[in-house]
Amino acid sequence: MKQRIGVYICHCGGNISDYVDVEELGKMFHQEENVVVSKDVMFACADSNQKDMVADIQANKLDAIVVCSCSPKLHLHTFKNVAARAGLNPSNYVQVNIREQCSWPHSDRPREATVKAAGLIRAGINRVSYSESLENIELTVKKSALVIGAGVSGMKAAIDLARSGNEVFLIEKDFFVGGRIAQKQTLFPTNQNGKEVVTFLYNEMKKFPNITIFTGATVEKVSGSLGNFSVDIKVKPRYIKPSADKRSVERAMGECPVTIHDDFNLGLVERKAIYKNYPEALPDVPVVDAEALKDAHDFTSKFASTLNLNEEAQTLSLIAGSVLVTTGYDHYQPKEGEYGYKTISNVVTLPELNRLMEMNPEKLVYKGKQIKSLAFIYCVGSRQTKGDNKYCSRQCCTSTIHTSLQLKEKYKDIQTYHLYRDIRTYGKQELMYAESSKQGDLYFKYEEKEMPVVSVDGKSTIVKVKDYLTAKKEMEIEADLVVLVTGMVAREDATTISELFKIPIGRDKFFNEIHPKLKPVETVIKGVYIGGTCQGPKNVSESVQSSLAGASKITALLKSGTVSVDPIIASVDANKCTWCGKCSDVCDFTAIKEVLFGEKHVAGVNKAVCTGCGICAPVCPENVIEIAQYTDNEIESMIDGFMMDFDIKEKGTGEVVEVEEEGKVGMKEYPLVWREILAGMTAEKNTIPEIVANTKLAGELVTFHLMTMNRYGVVVPAGMDAKETYYYYKRK
């Protein structure tokens, strides 16, 4: 129990003291036992006051302090630091919020505001008197990072991490690195070739002996925590003998008799069952689809010295101090029939068009027909007010416009039509939009409620659109190819990664950071970061920016070999724990494991993993779990403090004065809306829907005003209607 407590009550200029009688409170708490200092101060956070506090603490040998001011969100750390400067453990500090919780919301009732503040302050004093000195938890960490996903985000991050001296494991699910950018021939805004960027980054990675790349690899199991994640990965076989020489592998590739679906080219063509995504794909070893070749006995026996169809997958265990997830995105796949996709022969998606353009260097040909005009329909699978994907995919406007510029440059005589909802070529990308208009690309604006319709008219494909730029006229556009500008969605297997690492995912299924501004690449799991498009739609620059931010975070974290984490975590009284396992079941972060305490099996909390969420404490049947700074003693004493009676005098008069009776607050004239509402109360008592019907005012408006009118005693509630759905109101 703390015996020498200091209490500071802040005026906040007048923000607090205009309504809460802080001087009176200051005097009142001076009489409390254990309170040595109790003062009202003009600005608690002012430098001068902070200095005074330090002096007070030292002069009076205070063992705990309470500052009653604004929200802890604003100044918790300010005053914790004051405590620390005065040589007090920062955990012996409690902040009481009498501004957001008393003066501001109860400005109409100063006395009640003061009473409430008194209760909160007493609760704070009680809490601080039970506070314990806590030290941050120091953890040793391993200087190695696991990067999951070798797209542009993952590769860039791996290079940076390696350059800073970390050991890096880069795990790629596909057999070749590069991710999505390998599928695009020219990338905006630099017009670089996506594959060349991939090759460059791969060669760069090869320069670092401390990067180990695993392709065809997935994460299978994760345990451990910040500083020491232990991760099992499965590496799928390529079915090519390590001893096989390059020429024989190439021969096998050339002679392979079986073809399979070409994922890399989005199914536009087929590929051999021994393949590389594209000739220069890296690592430079092809992959065999063993399943597809299982009946091609002649072929496989001919190449028996090259192929090993019995090769098994390998499982490896890695230890990593920290994890960066860069698993990227999937293309939104239109449903069959969505704008004629798969039902009308010349409807494709933007990624498909990008592949087509690369496959057709001279003339743009699709299904044997030369394409001279294309209609792009924007926002397909994005910005759905009714559907799941509410977000804007952010890069597709620019991608499309850039593709349109490329089309013209590459194939010259081509006309494009753009059916958009809004053009979002933010920043410098705007220039591409201007260029596109100037080259004669035609833009049409449609609204989600009146979507374009793709139909076939004899030999031609027609897109009909209600054009909001031409007074909503119905326009007919004839196009050789209709291109659906599909957005980005979370990877199908994002949920697997999310479950393995406990990274929360949002309703949009992308991984969630802690805070978009303040902690943009951090996840709630300590030591696990996210970067690139697995977090949400981004273009390449933005993807790389975020993954590099993650990489720097990791470097900073691992640099010293130890990390210090907040001490607010759970602790188990091992003497009393009976290891029922209930706490372990409810812990979302798998922080509780069975451990041995002498001979006894008890619950052990992993300090590095526990987030102090508190879920375990109430489920413990023995009540032996405590959360630091939120112990039972602290919480119960706070409740006691708040429940105590106070005798607060109204300012100036020296005696207790009742606040004005309701209804006495005379309004000379009611606002117009009030009068309208009163006029709309035609029956003796009315429900809100009735008043809404009578007045034609918006429902929210009526509800809002009725509440105020009730407070001013103009109307009173008069029971509920028969179905118990609405309250009745009547005039008073």
Partner: protein, 348 residues
Amino acid sequence: MSRVNPKFATELSKYGSSDFNACFNCGNCTATCSLSTADSSFPREMIRYTTLGLEDDIKASLKPWECYYCGECSSECPRQAEPGELMMSLRRYLTAQYDWTGLSGLLYKSLPLSITAFILTFVGVIVFAFSVGFELEKMIHFGHLFEGIAIGTIGLVILMPNIARMWYFTILKPKTKVPFMKYLKSMGELFIHMFTQKRALGCDDNQFRWFEHFILVIGYLSLLFTTVALNWFGTSSLFVIVLGYVMSAIVFVVTIDFVSSRIKKDKAVSKHSQPSDIFFVVWLFFMGFTAFLVRLFIDLDLLEMNKWLYIFHLTVLVQWALIIVPFGKWTHFLYRSFAMYFAKLKEK
């Protein structure tokens, strides 16, 4: 339902404007235009029709004639799409559409063709002069006769049918129902606009140009009247002679300012001058100036020199009457006034 036709843009650019594709429909131009109203808003709408190639809508529209090319919209356009110039080009395009002979279109689109026409008419005049042995008297007599006949024929054969076509495109084809009485009642509109161009006054900062234009129209019409009806070159009435001097002087003095601004390109209207615009002002200047000199030489009795001067004057006159009036920019004088009249008819 309208079918989008991107090829139209290429066709229209032959009439001058080529930047309109840059438009991204922000509407700044319409907001800036001091003549655009809620009921008749432009120029954005016309740009939209043009980029999409909605020919029927363009032909049915009177809006291009409602613009007096102050150029405000072009200077405010964030994409430098030159909306004012587009309106101008649309006027040229419409002129070509209204013309049943199709010659307007050909001459607008091809400078060589225009020059050929000018040369041919010149050759014609020389041949004629040769046939009358370069006798001044006979030439002046013929010139006077030619003027009268040309005005009648061109009016009847070319201009009237063209106005009828304009009426067909803008009123009849879009199925606007106009009661007969309205035609009569709105007549006033036609003449007011024809002689005063009062609408141009609505343009901000445009008062002086309007005034110049107004004086020019009055001067030109009076000069026409003096030469054709009062036979200026043949008369001995002092009043008519002085009137002719004054009117021809007005025409060439005002046109000097117009020509110089076309050369200096200092006003928005003159930035993108097409040959047809240059021909129009330059020939107007020549008309006034040569008429003035011809009469002066008569009065000074410099007959030998006057022969050549008159041949020059006659050439200008013939080119004016056979090329510029029926197929060139002169017609905007008619179409603008009729557009205001038709717009009045279309009003609900």
